[in-house]
Amino acid sequence: MSTTATRVIVTGKKSSRGPLSGRGKGEQDLHRPGQRSRQVKESLAGYGFLIPWLVGFFGLTLVPMAYSLYLSFTNYNIFSPPKWIGLDNYVRMFTNDPSFMQSAQITLIYVFIGTPITLLAALLIAMLLNYRDKGAGFYRSAFYAPSLIGGSVSVAIVWRAMFAGDGPVDTTLSFFGINLGGWFGNPALVLPAMILLSVWQFGATMVIFLAGLKQIPKELYEAAEMDGANAWHRFRAVTIPMLSPVIFFNLLLGLIGAFQVFASAYIISNGSGGPAGMTNFITLYLYKRGFSDGQMGYASAIAWVLLVVVAIIAFILFRTQRSWVHYAGDNR
């Protein structure tokens, strides 16, 4: 969203000169009539080329969003016209819908436990891969692969089979005397299993960390070493601060992505959100409300609450940035 907004502003600033007239001397020539009509023509051509993007932006982004905001204040069952009910959907969500409360709760747990673990795992592996170059290409690909296929149906099915009562994970655990009897059928274990599945897909995060690590000048480490810093000190005083913009970026994207978990939950629970609602993440819940129960207005309201929550969290993160993210060339 933020990139889109920036672009709009940029376009808006330039539009006084016509979007494609960045020639510099155009402004002085404006009072000449011939030049002027040419200027207009160029502007028109510019807008002409912009039309596909504008149509896309309004038709596929802005209007649907506005419409869904409107729907969130209505009772809409897909078939008959929406009926205005004011804030009822929002009131119902927080006062009269235990399934929503459960859904919100497990989503928050998933996001706030899963994301930090994913980041840690990704950073750890990235540092290992950065340490030595031997075979790095192979390992990089191997660790990256799961995040490529992560959202796919097959992986969720394999995951389900692995953690089943007679699957390899439980069989191995029972060898050590731990008998769990399947993860995805057990309301207490299914959430940890889902978090594991998301952590396993740390590949994309890892690649970005790796790129960030490669950017850290070797001299800093050498200097630190001269000062007698051990590995932990170097990590604390050099790696973390130098990497903080990348950490911030990964944290933000990770949190937002985790809020939107859907495919794996849908497949693992066969679309039911079970067992006992423990995989009924917010996106799955709103999907079911909309498409199985035909409560589109209510589903829209849930979607807007999700949007606001994600926006607030992103806002807070941006505000705290000042205290821990260090950009190169910063004076702070």
Binding site: I78, G185, P187, S272, P275, A276, G277, Q295
Partner: protein
């Protein structure tokens, strides 16, 4: 690049054409004739049904037989499991592109027909769709308001399936019939004899039909035609509390086991010895159980009150046509074939329930299982009462909510009190929207 002359010519042409078309439409006052189907017209129809591989093969066979008679109609069939089938239909309904012909469920009939999504079949009844083989009460099933929107393929009734192989392994006699308490006691006996590998059954209080059965025994109902519930919180509490015993003493199969079996259930995974469900589920169960299982027991559900008319025949499924189909006659021809033809009777047997059409039923060479369903429906004749009205809009949602709450009760993650208040708040929303 754009000549004015050309533009003008274009507009003139278009106007002319429009006038000609309008003339045709207004002038030819054709007499109202029975709709017929042109046997030479090349037509493609989409057909959607819910089911499994077994049923899909039967549909393939039926379509092949249909094409022998109507080689010009190409039928593209797709299938999904029941919940996904309805999710897909909801989106299609919103987008206005439902398949031409649909296998349809009773609980959605009112919602779709009241929103003008289904084709009015009355003009086709008695001509393209034969009505002679369909008894009056069967035809009445697909009527909402005063219009026929669906043709029932078959009927079914609620029943109790048992697994003789498992019962023999456990060394327990078949359930001899009796009250709900007797049934619970019998389940406990099976579970105890099963030694941890076999359970007597699942938690039947998770199915709204079992609740309905009890309500009907008391002269009440689930929902009236106007959407008034025939029960209060106290009655629902009583129903869910009535089986706290078997939930707590380990009689029923652990819910975590059941969750791992999805999309199969405990019964068709040979872990539970009994299951209360619709009587046409037998074929699917046998297919799921696989080798070593050739027959099932099918008996009447437990009795709440002697002599009560608690059971009823309902359409196990209907066939409907999208209101927006481009080929209503061809679609009606396909519906007639799927419902009435001897071929469909022969192919489907009781896979979709006991055939509702007399021609289809007569041609159905009933395999032992199908014969069993037929005998079963005859055996419960004195318990059969009037069917409830066409289900209220949103019934499907409530049925599913009831099932989900049942799962949580079986897990023990919710108290009966919370369960009841959850169901009532859901009902509140569904009934007032």
């Amino acid at each position: 690049m754009f000549s004015k002359k050309r533009a003008f010519a274009g507009v003139a042409l278009a106007t002319g054409a429009a006038l000609v078309l309008a003339g045709c439409a207004g002038g030819g006052d054709a007499p109202e004739a029975d709709p017929t189907f042109d046997p030479d017209e090349e037509v493609t129809l989409d057909l959607a049904f819910w089911g499994n591989d077994v049923r899909a093969e039967l549909y393939d066979e039926a379509i092949a037989a249909f094409n022998e008679e109507y080689p010009n109609i190409t039928v593209n069939a797709t299938f999904l499991d029941f919940p996904s089938f309805w999710e897909k239909r909801q989106t299609e309904a919103a987008g206005g592109n439902l398949p031409d012909v649909m296998q349809f469920d009773y609980s959605y009939l009112r919602q779709y027909s009241e929103n003008n999504l289904l084709l009015d079949l009355d003009p086709y009844l008695g001509n393209i769709i034969q009505t002679d083989p369909l008894p009056e009460n069967i035809l009445g099933i697909g009527v909402v308001g005063d219009t026929t929107y669906g043709i029932a393929t078959s009927t079914n009734a609620w029943g109790l399936f048992t697994n003789p192989v498992l019962l023999e392994q456990a060394g327990v006699e078949e359930f001899p019939g009796g009250s709900w308490d007797d049934y619970a006691a019998w389940m406990t006996e099976v579970t105890e004899a099963g030694g941890g590998d076999i359970w007597g059954g699942g938690d039947y209080t998770g199915r709204i039909q079992n609740f309905e059965l009890q309500l009907r025994s008391e002269g009440s109902y689930l929902f009236s035609e106007d959407g008034e519930p025939g029960f209060d919180e106290a009655r629902l509490t009583e129903f869910w509390e009535s089986r706290s015993d078997i939930r707590e003493d380990g009689t029923i199969i652990p819910q975590s086991r059941v969750e791992e079996l999805v999309p199969k259930g405990g019964f068709d995974s040979a872990l539970t010895a009994s299951e209360l469900t619709w009587d046409n589920f037998g074929a699917g169960y046998l297919a799921g159980l696989g080798e070593g299982y050739t027959e099932l027991g099918l008996i009447a559900p437990p009795v709440t009150e002697e002599g009560a008319k608690d059971l009823y025949l309902k359409p196990s499924m209907l066939h409907t046509i999208s209101a927006k189909t481009e080929h209503p006659e061809a679609a009606a021809t396909l519906v007639d074939f799927l419902v009435n033809s001897p071929e469909s009777g022969e192919i489907f047997g009781t896979n979709r329930g006991l055939p509702a059409s007399e021609t289809a039923l007569a041609a159905a060479e009933l395999d032992p299982l199908s014969q069993q369903v037929k005998d079963y429906e005859a055996s419960i004749a004195d318990r059969l009462g009037d069917a409830p009205p066409v289900p209220i809009v949103g019934y499907g949602t409530l049925e599913e909510k009831f099932r989900q709450i049942g799962v949580e009760l079986a897990f023990g993650t919710i108290t009966v009190e919370d369960a009841v208040s959850q169901f009532f708040s859901e009902m509140d929303v569904v009934l007032t929207s």
